[in-house]
Amino acid sequence: MDTIIKKSTTPDALSTSRLQGFLRWETFLILIVFLVCVMNSYLSPYFLDPWNLSDATFNFTEKALIALPMAMLIIAKEIDISVAAIISLSSTLMGLVAQMGAPVYGVVFVGVLVGSACGLFNGVLVTRFKIPSIVVTIGTMSLFRGISYILLGDQVVRDYPDGFEFFGQGYVYWVFSFELVLFVLFALLFYWLLHRTTFGRYTYAIGNNPTASYYSGIKVDKHRLTLFTLVGVMSGIAAVLLTSRLGSTRPSIAMGWELSIITMVVLGGVSILGGSGTIGGVVLAVILMGLVTFGMGLLNIPGIVMTIIVGVMLIVVVSLPVLITLYKNSLKHSK
């Protein structure tokens, strides 16, 4: 456990020895995922069915797509709680252009474009006016969803062109849905971006010490702007998938998603104070939350009880390392 704590407080995931690399938060997550799998398949005979498991992935792939750039944003000491509102605005505008008779690629283009524009808008407010991102995105959260309400009111859009349903409902090969394949590709892309490029190193540097990064010549504001736009782009893509899966748009679409997305990121071992975390951890946390939701669904446990468990998990995950450190310190003092 000691190494787990050390690892989670070190700036990044550079493992020095193989053993140390093994004893990490991510390993702990793998164990829990494995445990949940065993428990679920013991509790329900339907759990290990490939089609059932494939269905389960639909519950989290859209959120997970946003969790990836969100992890990078939180590592860089920022946060975006307007993501669900971006989905709503993007989905609304997709619906409106679909009603005007836009083809499939036109609808998708609008969805991603609106998402990127919203992300850019957040980024400009944060970097240009030096306002804390949490306040900015509380404001834009109301603004984006508010525009959806102005445009749609209590209406529902259902007139999506034929072929649009593929993104949210189609399968690429056997049980592998388009959403799942897209998530795997993006997870690899973000892994590469965060752990294998200078862009990723800069993200950690900014998260650990923005001032020092600035004085070492990193274009901090430009970097933040890029990250916010990235979150916007991915929210746009998630909006395309979700709209396509539901086949309809309401202004209240994806309500409350920002909380489960941030929970996924924090559960994945990303420090909410910035500076540490890995994409691997986030992906594991995503799988864990997906499996727990799915398993509880099989056991007929209501969704709202699930939110309690997610809440407890979130609190336990952030306070456990602190408790262990306190306990260790008290042992040292008593000696």
Partner: protein, 335 residues
């Protein structure tokens, strides 16, 4: 004194609110009648009380996202107790709502104080937990007006000098908060702990404890508002006040409470809440669809924080002043 007030943020903001109020009055004279003005204040009373609690939390560099869930839980609890024992005394029920609210707030506060866990993570978690607990408590059922006793529903509506008890409670709390935050050491400690935690620590202020008090007060007020909310709308269900925490934070931010901590005043906070209240009440009168409300408050938050961004620059200058000047500067900030 008057001149200084007019040039302060609170002064400008109250001029804007008054201008809005009277320009709507020009369209519909009934809007500015005494009865309607009292009505608007009474409508905003719950928002004002919650914003006062939230201000204490934000002053100490924390945030309480669980207030709305606290309102829902406490409201449901007192409504169910009232349903089970219709003859129970109102004093007991109000005491119960205060205690339960304080307990839920204290849970947040203890995590922040003793474990130094970021408040946004804790309250994000407790928000889901309290909301889920409301479901477990009620099993998803509603408590409707005919299941509540007459005095339970009647108390907040009881008028003294043509202002309902709900309005009087808000007035009493505003006066109490104003006095506390200006003249008591306990209140000034919030500014000290948030303005410069390190300096506060060296001057003997227990920053963590002050943060705990912030959450305690925020929770207690949320408990009281739980009773008021449920009895005012004469219904209790799981989704009561869903998403209201953002309006509460918005009221604080519009009122000039800086999310970075240490800056903000009771008057600003109240005017920020009244701003939202006037907008909400004015929209139907000037014939704008209520669907515009969300986008308007989003826009206002963004404009308010951009305006605040300039005052945060002033705050950075504190470092450059001599100590005695700095303390004078700090004390004038709250005027």
């Amino acid at each position: 004194m008057l001149k200084r007030f007019i040039y302060s943020r609170e002064g400008i903001l109250s001029l804007i609110v008054l201008a809005m109020f009277f320009s709507v009055g020009a369209i519909s004279p009934d809007f500015i009648s005494l009865t309607n003005s009292i009505g608007i204040f009474n409508d905003t009373a719950i928002l004002i009380m919650l914003a006062l609690g939230q201000m204490l939390v934000i002053l100490t560099r924390c945030i309480d996202l669980s207030v709305a869930a606290n309102v829902a839980f406490t409201g449901m609890l007192v409504a169910m107790v009232n349903q089970a024992f219709p003859d129970i005394s109102m004093a007991f029920l109000i005491l119960l709502s205060l205690l339960v609210g304080a307990f839920l707030g204290a849970i947040n506060g203890l995590f922040v104080w003793l474990l130094k866990v970021p408040s946004i993570v804790i309250t994000l978690g407790t928000m889901s937990i309290y909301r889920g607990a409301t479901f477990l408590l009620s099993d998803g059922a509603w408590v409707n007006s005919h299941q509540m006793s007459k005095s339970f529903i009647g108390l907040p509506r009881f008028e003294i000098l043509s202002i309902p008890v709900l309005g009087w409670t808000a007035i009493f709390l505003i006066v109490l908060a104003f006095w506390t935050m200006k003249f008591s050491v306990w209140g000034r400690n919030f500014y000290a702990a948030g303005g410069n935690p390190m300096a506060a620590f060296y001057s003997g202020v227990n920053v963590g404890k002050v943060q705990f008090y912030g959450f305690l007060v925020s929770g207690t007020l949320a408990g009281l508002c739980g009773y008021f909310w449920v009895s005012r709308f004469a219904v209790a269900y799981v989704d009561v006040a869903n998403g209201f925490e953002l309006q509460v934070i918005a009221a604080c931010v519009i009122g000039g409470v800086s999310i970075i901590g240490g800056l903000g005043s009771v008057i600003g906070c109240v005017i920020g809440a009244l701003f939202i209240g006037v907008v909400n009440n004015a929209l139907p009168i000037i014939g704008v669809s209520p669907f515009w409300q969300m986008a308007i408050s989003g826009t206002v938050i963004i404009i308010a924080v951009i305006a605040n961004a300039s005052s945060n620059k002033d705050k950075a200058r504190i470092i450059l002043r001599k100590p005695d000047q700095a303390s004078r500067f700090l004390s004038t900030q709250s005027h």
